[in-house]
Symmetry: D2
Subunit: 359 residues, 4 copies
């Protein structure tokens, strides 16, 4: 279970790292949406390994094949199925870990849970699975673009290197101008250096991605358990390597007084209700209030290291594990499109959920 | 929508702050569980306002009435319905805000979303709703106790006052020994002082609750979207006033190298597989690995202040809002049983989901 | 599990025959709907035992208490909770069957499934549970009335007595003019006689209810698994004592040639697309086509007899069982409002599901 | 929506008749199940057109490709994805109906609902969709075989030709010995003749399939809305062309007295509780009682005729429609494996749902 996400804009994914293919069924995409296949391909390319010296050098082709749900270039209202074939599998790279439990991977927990696992490249627990999310998220983004909603993410921290400029003062269209996907070139340079040094040490480092969603109408989000930020949080925490989620003032907000933190309402010159500050992060009582939604997602350092670590094997014997092949020293640059995809899926779903609440 | 939580151990809640009652249906509780009604009552008492000088002085009786699903003291496998009547409603306290949008409350978003709202005490968006969660969570805890699983939470930060002792070195059974629910008496004293000073300023302050779950068997959690921590995160983020969630190393983990962060496996003297460190927070690949699960939940300062704030009313006219009656200066002491309840619901649900995964 | 019905207009019921109360949470009712509490009470009165000599003489008060979700007479978009207290329980009537498995009841299967059961009046398996459906269905009907959709049901067969007049030639507003709820007075008389004779024999008899839904817009129903008639069928089959469901031409349609059965399209004088015949029963490919939806529901004879039957008890010993107290000789007259309620819930749910399918 | 079926053994299907492929994701299949790919292929072959003179002569290859979820021949607990490529599409056959609404097809309702449709071969509404169900059902059957549960279906009526022998007196292993899939050779001959005559008239005819499930343990089925027969009924009614469903005594049972209809319990020589008769159809109170489950499914005559019919086109103009190419004169022989597949999916799902109901 657990391979389905969303209520009305609902995706179900499948696929192992080294099986024939991964893919996704998108059920609930409204009919009549122009499906730009090149857009999906470009989004997949952004997630793809091998884009630069600071990401893994695997070459994944990641050409999305649409098997259903699109007719004459438009969605038909029936399930859209997108398949991405695994073309660069190199199964031999993984034989050395068939019997071993890699530290801080899912080898041990999958084996215990299921009694069997596809050990090649982590199988279902591989980050390869996120390609299916990006493909589905691209469809959601095409829908949101029609509705005037803009979803953006960028790298705001890499290890100790932090982007100090608030997102409002950045041009988020420039995020992809550098290989670390930080929209400030100066900070980007420092991040790239840090990752490169880490790579040379055969080590890895964590980081933080900030997401910003603009143009969301008032009213998205369901009270109580499906609060908009609760579903955004679940979406982000379901991405491999994520350790934390905060929105609006987040953890820092716990140190503020109510008199500082409250966002006072006013009516602007056009008669639109806004707030002076936005510590609420665009969501009040779990429902969007029309202000920018912004959030931060914490990623741990990649668990696969290019140096030996102590561990045990399936028989409980001590052994050592050492990463081989091609792995990222830092996951956040490639995770930017994944964060955008998951955010888009959540917003699209809540957009549809909100269509029927008034008589 | 959004009033149902869980797949197999599933709750659906209802009720407004100033309606006749709030309550919950629990569907999926295994049959034959001894239902200790006093335990439910005690859990509700822990959440209740008016427990001390640092919490609101409202007197809510919160006597749970079981309407269905229990026969001769045991669960029958049919839905358990628990109703808690609203006995101390004092509707007149709220008439002054019927037309006003309180800053950082849900008044504006509910009004826009639904075109109508029960403005008395915040209606459905009131923290009163969490009493239903605590009642349901008590049932889940009774189930988990049978399975040897222990769920605990405590206050670890109040504004700038931070508990620096790791949870392993604390006696979590002493959490309720003081009114702020911090298991270290020294830090508790500082927290109480800080809250009391804040209250005297007619202001409010945020805080952080730490949760610890021990005795969870290996294998709980579903890969991909229903990762155990993703569902814990959604559960916590769905609680009123929560702004962030992290587990294991959390946001701090983003600053660590992989060689520091990885949890190396070993086999203890009894032949049980464990990890030397536990930055993973007891969850790897979304699945419990048998180590302690621990997490932190960030609560913003309470939005209702005892001093005037600028705002607008439903007609868009400028106005001022000032809290009246009885409100908490800091929500975290009373939120401890809510965090425990939501964690218990998630673990109970995943316990049941995990029963059928192997042939 | 299994106590929730519907996707967007979703109900969850609870309650045992002889517990304190039964009830329902309705989640997803659009905000702003005028909630006529008298209408709910009247619908419950139609289902109530003791209405006539041909129904059981128990007196159930069945006054619906609305605990949440309604403010100033209108739905607020939050969950509506309706509770109906069990006021006429007479537990002593059931002590004689505590240890016995009544033939063709759910005693044995509940006991085996759960290892425990509330044996008083059948507990959760009692037809009393359907009162919660009728209350929820009344809310759905109020919604459908706003949309111009009319849901009607009537008794069309009792044992060998069959109403031969097609529904189009009947005045369905006269259904409640007689105690058997057959809109043709002549047939109704024969049905009443037959039931009365059966009752005198201390026996019971089955029957058939026909449902007719008019004014359904084109487009309701989801392809593949949630075809409109599939969900109607599930809804009807979930009612106690139902053994079969057919719609449109039904089982008789299997004997027809395609050239007879096909419904040819035409455009009427107003330019509306219609079909000359309606063997499709208003649904094509699982989606409503604007014609009348009609269906038939088969009810078995009531299992509780006023004469001794062979059976076994919980220890596997042979015993006899004999009905005591107050039971219907034929369930169909009282099941008419239940069929209408379930049909209304299905149509309301699909109405909401259909709001988001086009861009 | 509506392309997902089941709770714990859950399938999601996709695909249009003339798109690149159809397929299914199966989520929740327990790990460790031996996946016999030949078995899936054989089941698909049973559903395939072109098997005999009484079925359509299209040649569909229907080779299932497993893209995920199986490792070294066994299920891994992750989603199983099966794709079946559409190799014999002949799109040109359908150009003549692009603008026309075929009588008693889904052309009109899909067009109205979605504003767009893949008109080639009916698109998503084509019976081709059922191949995905058969593939998924094959996996469910492999699971049920492990549990000793046997699912069988056979043709019991074709137009006026009825199999009068009760299923207990038939050898259901002989169902596939003839092309009409009726286990009694004499009746089969009459059915084949009738279909052949119908075909020569360029007409079509309906029929009935009987299903029998043996070896189901006591306890499957959830009370109230997910009664075992309610979910079986929904499953069957979701198959194209189905107009009715009944189980046990069915519609005939409405004419019986309770004293005839009740199934009296006894204990057999091995101490197993059974019933003398089985009008309940193996289900009491929605829960299996260990006796055979049996049911009947009504299929209407195929709507595509080889002779002209009146209709209208998308502009509302009168036109005629005439079937071209290759279509079945009677759907029931090929629907037998579909009925078995859907029944298997329901039972597998309820088997898993029943694993967690007792403490």
């Amino acid at each position: 279970m657990g391979n389905t996400f969303g209520e009305l804009f609902r995706i179900t994914t499948f696929g192992e790292s080294h099986g024939p293919a991964i893919g996704v069924i998108i059920d609930g995409c409204p009919a009549g949406l122009k499906i730009d296949q090149d857009f999906i391909t470009r989004e997949l390319a952004r997630r793809r390994p091998g884009q630069s010296k600071i990401t893994t050098q695997r070459k994944e082709n990641d050409l999305p094949e649409i098997l259903a749900g699109v007719f004459e270039g438009k969605s038909t209202g029936t399930p859209i199925c997108i398949v991405i074939h695994n073309t660069d599998q190199r199964s031999r790279d993984y034989s050395h870990i068939a019997e071993k439990y890699r530290p801080s991977h899912a080898d041990y927990t999958y084996q215990e849970k299921y009694g069997i696992r596809d050990y090649r490249g982590g199988g279902r627990s591989s980050a390869r699975e996120t390609a299916a999310r990006v493909a589905a998220g691209a469809i959601a983004r095409l829908f949101l673009i029609e509705k005037g909603i803009d979803v953006k993410a960028f790298v705001s921290e890499v290890g100790p290197v932090k982007l100090e400029i608030p997102y409002q003062d950045l041009n988020l269209d420039e995020t992809d101008q550098n290989i670390v996907r930080c929209p400030d070139p100066f900070t980007a340079g420092k991040m790239i250096d840090f990752i490169d040094q880490t790579r040379k040490k055969r080590d890895t480092i964590g980081g933080i991605i900030t997401g910003v969603i603009r143009g969301v109408p008032v009213g998205l989000g369901e009270p109580v358990f499906d609060k908009l930020h609760a579903n955004l949080g679940r979406a982000m925490l379901s991405i491999n390597a994520v350790k934390g989620f905060e929105y609006g003032s987040g953890f820092e907000g716990t140190k503020m007084y109510g008199s500082e933190h409250n966002d006072e309402f006013f009516k602007d010159e056009k008669g639109i209700i806004k707030t002076h500050t936005n510590y609420s992060g665009g969501i009040q009582g779990g429902i969007s209030n029309g202000q920018d939604i912004y959030f931060r997602v914490a990623f741990k350092p990649v668990a696969t290291l290019m140096k030996p670590q102590q561990s045990i094997d399936m028989k409980g014997k001590e052994t050592t594990v050492e990463g081989k092949g091609r792995h990222d020293p830092c996951v956040v640059p490639r995770a930017v499109p994944i964060v955008e995809a998951m955010a888009s899926l959540v917003i699209a779903d809540h957009y549809l959920l909100n269509l029927k609440v008034k008589l």
